[in-house]
Structures are given as structure tokens and as C-alpha cells.
């Protein structure tokens, strides 16, 4: 059966990107059911229809019934009148018609979940990672899940000494990428005077501290990345804990000061977007400088590592000053966004 009305052309005015959901988001699994209600309770004609005997004074029938009648006359198949008319669908996108809807429907339209909550920004201050490091759980944060399905084995090929490798190749198969990228990067940033083994020891101590510290309480005003696991999962997966803390405070842009561009000796501040690795680097530098200002509690080798770990915990709990720093950069970036020079389109 063809659709009752050819409404698709009007409802598809909003651009729709059929992008694969790369990340797990806590969304309700039930989808909104199609509109099933009728505008009136009875299947018969509306009561106003039989007030007058004259055809021209009778009110117009309902839009679906009219379409059905026209279809009957022209001999084509019209909409099924037994199913009622989806008024929302008809008026969708038509501002004039929406204004004239009954108040109930207008309220329902206003309270639709797709409109942002009051007081929220019209722009996003977070990004979702694209593609990347996910092995088996489809990009985004590496939840550290262990796959218990046996890997796909290629059939035996005669003539091979060791057989074909099992697919997919393991994440840590390459010697240069065998460790987690975040852990690798933070280790290198922890390194002083080229002493990598000391940095690696510090990294291990940081992860151990994250693993033994109590479950963090998330500050709702300082939300973590969307798609983050519940806080009770974090201590058992310290690498995820670390990644989440760093990615949550990572700035989206840096401010480049262009000398002489503004005139009058003032530097023009231009926001420049950062790549994922650059964003992480900025966040880690902030966290390390905040950690070095903390009060030193222990002595000996692990004291800096411990302060870094405490700073990471306070980032996740929303207490850290790094958040203010990130927000400051974003604020400056928003106020200077007019200075962004986009390439001219032809």
C-alpha cells in the first residue's frame, strides 16, 4: 500500500546524516511509536457535517477523508481513512500551520526532547573521538572488555610452516603500538631528562593509585565525556580512568595570537582547532603542572606519581582547577570566533 499522503518531501527538510553510531550512548532503546491517535473519538462523520443540507455550507471533511474522496473519484488509491490523520506530520516544518495548532499539540511540540534544555549553549564544548583505537567495541573509549569469542580462524593452507595468523590481528601486535596510546603519551610527557624507565615506573604507580583509590563521585556540573561508564567501573579499569580524566578536560582549541593583524599593536587572537593527540597533550600538561603544585605527602620515588594520581581523581570528581582553565580557553575561543578566517568558497 502506498503512503496515505506524500508527506516525505516536506518532513525530510532537516538534513539527515546516516552516520553509524560510533559510540555507545546511554539512550532509551524504545523508539517513539508512530502517531496512532485520532483527532476524534468516533469513526463516523463529525457532528458538524450533518447540520446543513447544502453541500457548499457543509464543512470540509477531514484532510485524509478529502484525499480519500479525491482518490476515489480519480480512481487511484487514497489514504486509509480508518487510521486517522497524523496532524503533526502534516504541519511539520510549516511555521504558519504550527502556530494555528491546538494548544495541546503546540505544548507537545515545544517539549520535544530534541530541543536543547533551557540555559544550555548553542554550541558544543565536547567532541566525540572519531574512529581510532577501539578494538572490538567500535571506537570511542576502550572499555577494556575481554572478548571471549574464539577469534576467526582461517582454514588450513598447505605449505605454510606456522599457519595463517588469526584475524583480526591483535591490537598490540605491532611492536611500536603495543601499549595503549594514552598511556604511551602520558608516559612520554612524564619523562624528564630522557629517563623513560623512571617515567614508566611513575606511570605504573599512577595506575596503581587509581586502582586502589575509592570510587569517584561525579560532580553533575562538571560532566565527563558522554558515553563514559558509571564511576564504579573506573577503579577496576585504570587505563580507562586515565583516558576519561584526560579526554574530559582536553581543550578543543588553542588561542593563537597573530601579531599585527588587529592593528594598533594588539595581537589578534585566533582560535585554532586541535587534533586529538594535541588536545590530550594540553590536558596532560595542565594536569602535571597542577600536580606539581600539590602538597607533597610522601618521600622518595613515588611522590610525584602520587600527586599526579590525586590530581587525576580530582579532575574526574570535578574539583580540579584544570576545569576552569579549560573553560577559560573555550570562553576566549568563543569570544574570538569572529577572527577565524575560513577559506573562501567558490
Amino acid at each position: 500500500m502506498p503512503p496515505r499522503l506524500n508527506l516525505l518531501t516536506s518532513t525530510r527538510s532537516i538534513p539527515y546524516r546516516p552516520k553509524v553510531q560510533a559510540q555507545w550512548l546511554a539512550r532509551p532503546t524504545t523508539r517513539a511509536a508512530p502517531w496512532q491517535s485520532r483527532a476524534y473519538s468516533d469513526s463516523k462523520d463529525p457532528p458538524s457535517a450533518d447540520r446543513s443540507k447544502r453541500i457548499e455550507s457543509q464543512p470540509l471533511p477531514h484532510i485524509s477523508e478529502e484525499a480519500a474522496k479525491i482518490a476515489e473519484i480519480t480512481g487511484t488509491q487514497g489514504p486509509d481513512v480508518n487510521k486517522g490523520t497524523p496532524v503533526e506530520e502534516v504541519v511539520k516544518g510549516d511555521k504558519e500551520a504550527e502556530k494555528k495548532l491546538p494548544k495541546v499539540m503546540q505544548d507537545a511540540l515545544k517539549s520535544k526532547a530534541n530541543s536543547p534544555p533551557k540555559g544550555s549553549r548553542s554550541y558544543s564544548t565536547t567532541t566525540t573521538p572519531i574512529g581510532g583505537n577501539g578494538g572490538g567495541n567500535g571506537g570511542g573509549l576502550d572499555m577494556g572488555l575481554v572478548g571471549f569469542n574464539p577469534p576467526f580462524t582461517t582454514p588450513e593452507t598447505p605449505g605454510l610452516k606456522f599457519g595463517m595468523p588469526t584475524l583480526p590481528l591483535p591490537k598490540d601486535g605491532h611492536v611500536k603500538h603495543r601499549y595503549d596510546p594514552v598511556v604511551d603519551q602520558v608516559t612520554n610527557l612524564l619523562m624528564r631528562h630522557g629517563k623513560k624507565s623512571i617515567a614508566q615506573r611513575d606511570m605504573a604507580l599512577i595506575l596503581q593509585h587509581l586502582r586502589t583509590s575509592p570510587i569517584p563521585t561525579i560532580n553533575p556540573s562538571r560532566p565527563l565525556l558522554p558515553g563514559a561508564p558509571p564511576p564504579s567501573h573506573l577503579p577496576l579499569n585504570p587505563i580507562l580512568y586515565l583516558t576519561l580524566a584526560i579526554d574530559s578536560v582536553a581543550p578543543l582549541m588553542r588561542i593563537r595570537s597573530q601579531k599585527g593583524a588587529a592593528g594598533g599593536g594588539v595581537a589578534l587572537q585566533i582560535p585554532v582547532p586541535l587534533g586529538q593527540r594535541q588536545r590530550r597533550r594540553a590536558a596532560v600538561q595542565w594536569i602535571l603542572s597542577a600536580a606539581s603544585k600539590r602538597r607533597n605527602r610522601g618521600s622518595g620515588k613515588g611522590s610525584f606519581a602520587q600527586r599526579v594520581a590525586e590530581e587525576l581523581v580530582s579532575v574526574v570528581e570535578g574539583r580540579s582547577s584544570v576545569w576552569d582553565r579549560r573553560n577559560g580557553v573555550h570562553k576566549l575561543g568563543v569570544s574570538a570566533r569572529a577572527n577565524v578566517v575560513l577559506p573562501r568558497k567558490r
Binding site: 605504573a204 586502589t212 577496576l236
Partner: protein, 487 residues
């Protein structure tokens, strides 16, 4: 009362350099002041401050820095910890991790099954009172990974079962005659689990209601951090360490409280202080704890009591053996180094290790060597090497290097290690702590995974990968590569 002439001559005495130079030059010197006079200094003008000398800024204080290009993050400006914090942090022992998962299949050791051979290759939990006792004798070390798991548990490895057999041998001797005193030195590679094996021995002894005396760290006894005093009436001069002995007594009391409370003092020990009426061993120990100056006689009296017939066997243990096989850091009155064997506590231990004094009720003397904190002791190294060679390849025994200095006292103590023969006959032997087998590695890694500390599927390939990375199953390295996330 000195005479006035005397005083006057003293006031005119000149001690400065001018007194030694010739008269002419003395008269040329401008201010002629008496040596004891303070008036010149008092009436002198205050020294003018040199310009441009400003005190350096305090640590952590921000100063105006107008130089360009100094944006590098400043060095560590964190505040210093409060006094005492550092040591507390360093010595802190955490035995629980609330985040780790409870392992449902974990069974505890108990008195009946502690020495059973069925435990081999299994991970067993330590019951709570044993954990308390082990904590009291400081058997847990800060470098061990107890803080990662829900509660302390150990892998009963091959060497542990070997030790359990020794305990069984002491408890019921085969031929029904006198009780045995077995002496063992634990040797092995770095991080191979020597201290943990010692801890397992102590735990089994606690479970079997033995009396346990543990010297937690030999270095603490010989590194001259505690007071010492010569012991009167000793032929070769010996030295007591009163504070240390008092601490040791309190550890013994805390760990063996049940036995010491229940046992009355039977002998009449010569003590400098009176005991209460109807004294028990607990009163005796408390006397030594309260009066450190009497702690050594109290220790001797307590040992005398413990070795009375009918009392339980004794487990005597030390960690870090090479520290006591050399000169200690203490100096004698004529500024000569004191040999560690001249300290009374060490002498007491060493007499039992060498077999000079047996344990009348039977028992085990355990000494763990260390590879990471071990001063050179050629005698100990040689004796251990020879004993290991006699166990593994008896046709190729190493020889003493004549260019090394021999510590004859240490060599005398360990000479039983050089006697050819198998373990039971010799009395003193080594237990070589080697790598885990793959089954043992698998069982401990399954425990890691069940605790949630290891996020991987434990299968044969994974186990043999980690086992090889850990140097053929060295347990410390295995823990490092699988749980500690040490890259």
C-alpha cells in the same frame, strides 16, 4: 678566689695575632684594645648594608619575572610534608583493596589442612587472626603486592609444600625420638618470592600454634640506628640493643599472645626487676617492654621458659641474612667496627642457625637472603652457591676464590652448608626458590583475573607469554607484567 694581680695579668693578656709579631709593628697597629674588652664592638657604627643585596625569595613565592621567554613550567613547588608523614607513608602496609572483586572460589588455610600436600599449586587465603599476627611480626613488606587484592592470599607453590613438609617433620618425628631442629636458608633470584616464602612459613607456624619469633629486617639491627651498650660479664665483648630488644619483645607478645598468656613462669630467672605474683610469660614480656634497660635479661629468661619441655616448637626467622654476616655499623669504645655476631640478638640467632644450640622442643630456623638489599658477604655467597650446586649438579662444585677476603666467623656459622649430603641429614641446607611452573603461574593468574586486577582471558597462550616474559616464571616479574601494569 684569685688574687688581683693574677686577674690583672689575665686582663692584659693578649691572645690575638698581634701578640706574636714584633713590638714595632704592634705599636703601629691602630686600635689597641684589650682582648676581653667589648666596648669597641659596642660603640662601633652598625655595618652598612650593601646595596643590591636582597634576600632570595622564599620557596614557592611568586616573583615578578620580566624576562622574556621564561614560560617553562617552574620546578616542583609543592610544599614539604609535615614531620613524620614521610616515614609513615613509606612504612605503610595496606592489605586490602576495596575495589578488587571478592574471589568466590578462594579457600582459607586452616589448622588441619595447612600442611597438606593437596594445596600445591592452589591459591589460599590467610585467615584474619594469622594476618594480624603476621602484621605484628612485620612479615608483610611494602614492596609486595598485598594492596591490590581484597584480602591477603598466597600461592602454595612447590617450595611452600617443601617447607610444609619440614614443619610436619618437626611436629611428628618419624623415629619417635627427640624433636628435630631444622635449619634452612632461602635463596633465589631477585623477586623470586623468598620473603613471601618466609611469610608463608610463619603463617603455617602460626596456624599450627607454634611460637614464632621473627627478626623482620636484619638491616635494622646492624645499621646502628638504635642504641647499644656493652653487655657486662661477657668474655668476648658483646653488645645489647635495649630499645630494639624491647620492640622485639612487644612483637613477640602481640603475635603469640594466646600462648604467653596461658603459660606460667616455671623457672626462677635472675632479673633486675621483680615479677608479680603467679607470673605468666606475658607478665615477663611486659616487664621487658616497660623497662628497655632490662629487656635483654628478660629476653634470655623468656627464651629459657620457651625451651622448657612440653612447650610448642619454635619458628625462628630472619630476613636479609647477608647483613648479619659481616661487620655491623656500630663502633666499639676503641673505634673498631663491631662484628654483627657480637650483638646479642644476632648472636642468639646465629647460634641456632649454626646448630651450636639446638631447639629442645624442635623447631625451624629460617633465614631468607635478599638480592636487592644485600651487602657483599663472600662467605655467605660461597656457602649458598656450594649448597645449591650440591643439590643440582654435585659433580661441579665451585671453589673458593682465594683473592677474596674471608669472614671466618661467618664461614664457621655456615660451614654446615658445605657438608656433602642431602637435606635431612645435614640440618642446615638451602631451599632454592626458583620460578613457578606453568600450572602454578596459571593458577595465580586466574586468581588475578578473578580479583579483577588482570583484564585478559587467561588461556594457555596468554599464560605462557607472561611466564616467558617473567623470566621463566619468576613470580615478582610475573606480577609486574600481569597485574602492576608496569610497561
Amino acid at each position: 678566689m684569685p688574687s688581683p694581680i693574677c686577674l690583672r695579668s689575665l686582663s692584659q693578656l693578649s691572645l690575638d695575632r698581634a701578640a706574636n709579631v714584633s713590638i714595632t709593628s704592634r705599636t703601629l697597629l691602630a686600635p689597641q684594645t684589650a682582648c676581653f674588652s667589648t666596648s669597641a664592638a659596642r660603640y662601633a657604627a652598625p655595618p652598612s648594608k650593601r646595596k643590591g643585596m636582597v634576600a632570595p625569595p622564599k620557596r614557592g613565592e611568586r616573583t615578578l619575572n620580566v624576562k622574556k621567554g621564561r614560560k617553562a613550567p617552574s620546578a616542583d613547588t609543592g610544599k614539604r610534608p609535615a614531620p613524620g608523614d614521610r616515614k609513615a607513608m613509606r612504612k605503610r602496609i595496606v592489605l586490602t583493596n576495596d575495589n578488587a572483586l571478592e574471589v568466590s572460589s578462594l579457600k582459607d588455610l586452616d589448622k588441619a589442612t595447612a600442611l597438606s600436600e593437596k594445596n600445591e599449586g592452589q591459591v589460599r587465603g590467610l585467615p584474619e587472626q594469622v594476618v594480624d599476627a603476621l602484621r605484628a611480626v612485620e612479615a608483610f613488606k611494602t614492596t609486595q603486592g598485598w594492596s591490590l587484592f581484597r584480602r591477603p592470599a598466597t600461592l602454595m607453590r612447590k617450595e611452600t609444600i617443601q617447607l610444609a613438609k619440614l614443619l610436619k617433620e618437626v611436629e611428628d618425628p618419624v623415629d619417635g625420638q627427640q624433636k628435630k631442629t631444622l635449619r634452612r636458608v632461602l635463596s633465589g633470584d631477585r623477586m623470586s618470592g623468598k620473603s613471601t616464602l618466609l611469610l608463608q612459613g610463619l603463617a603455617m607456624a602460626f596456624l599450627r600454634d607454634w611460637v614464632v619469633i621473627n627478626l623482620p629486617e636484619a638491616q635494622d639491627i646492624t645499621n646502628a640506628h638504635t642504641d647499644y651498650a656493652p653487655l657486662p660479664s661477657s668474655q668476648t665483648q658483646q653488645y645489647t640493643q635495649d630499645t630494639y630488644t624491647a620492640t622485639l619483645l612487644s612483637q613477640i607478645l602481640k603475635a603469640n599472645l594466646k600462648f604467653l598468656e596461658a603459660t606460667p613462669v616455671t623457672t626462677n630467672p635472675p632479673l633486675p626487676l621483680p615479677l608479680p605474683a603467679k607470673p605468666t610469660l606475658k607478665h615477663l614480656a611486659e616487664l621487658g617492654i616497660a623497662n628497655p634497660e632490662a629487656s635483654w635479661p628478660v629476653f634470655v629468661a623468656l627464651w629459657q621458659e620457651l625451651t622448657q619441655p612440653g612447650h610448642p616448637p619454635i619458628m625462628l626467622a630472619i630476613d636479609g641474612l647477608s647483613h648479619i654476616m659481616r661487620n655491623s655499623e656500630y663502633l666499639s669504645a676503641d673505634v673498631k667496627p663491631i662484628h654483627a655476631h657480637d650483638l646479642t640478638l644476632i648472636r642468639h640467632f646465629v647460634d641456632h642457625l649454626s646448630g651450636a644450640k639446638p631447639l629442645p622442643n624442635g623447631g625451624i630456623v629460617l633465614a631468607a637472603t635478599s638480592q636487592s638489599n644485600a651487602p657483599t658477604s663472600p662467605a655467605l655467597d660461597y656457602c649458598v652457591q656450594v649448597a645449591e650446586a650440591m643439590q643440582s649438579h654435585p659433580d661441579n662444585i665451585p671453589h673458593w676464590n682465594p683473592y677474596k677476603n674471608v669472614d671466618q666467623r661467618a664461614m664457621d656459622v655456615l660451614k654446615d652448608l658445605l657438608v656433602p649430603g642431602s637435606g635431612g641429614a645435614k640440618g642446615l641446607d638451602v631451599i632454592r626458590v626458583g620460578g613457578l611452573s606453568k600450572q602454578e603461574a596459571r593458577s595465580i593468574m586466574e586468581y588475578y583475573a578473578e580479583s579483577g586486577m588482570l583484564r585478559a582471558k587467561v588461556d594457555d597462550g596468554f599464560v605462557s607469554e607472561k611466564w616467558s616474559l617473567a623470566g621463566m616464571g619468576n613470580i615478582g616479574e610475573l606480577e609486574r607484567v600481569s597485574v602492576r601494569l608496569r610497561i
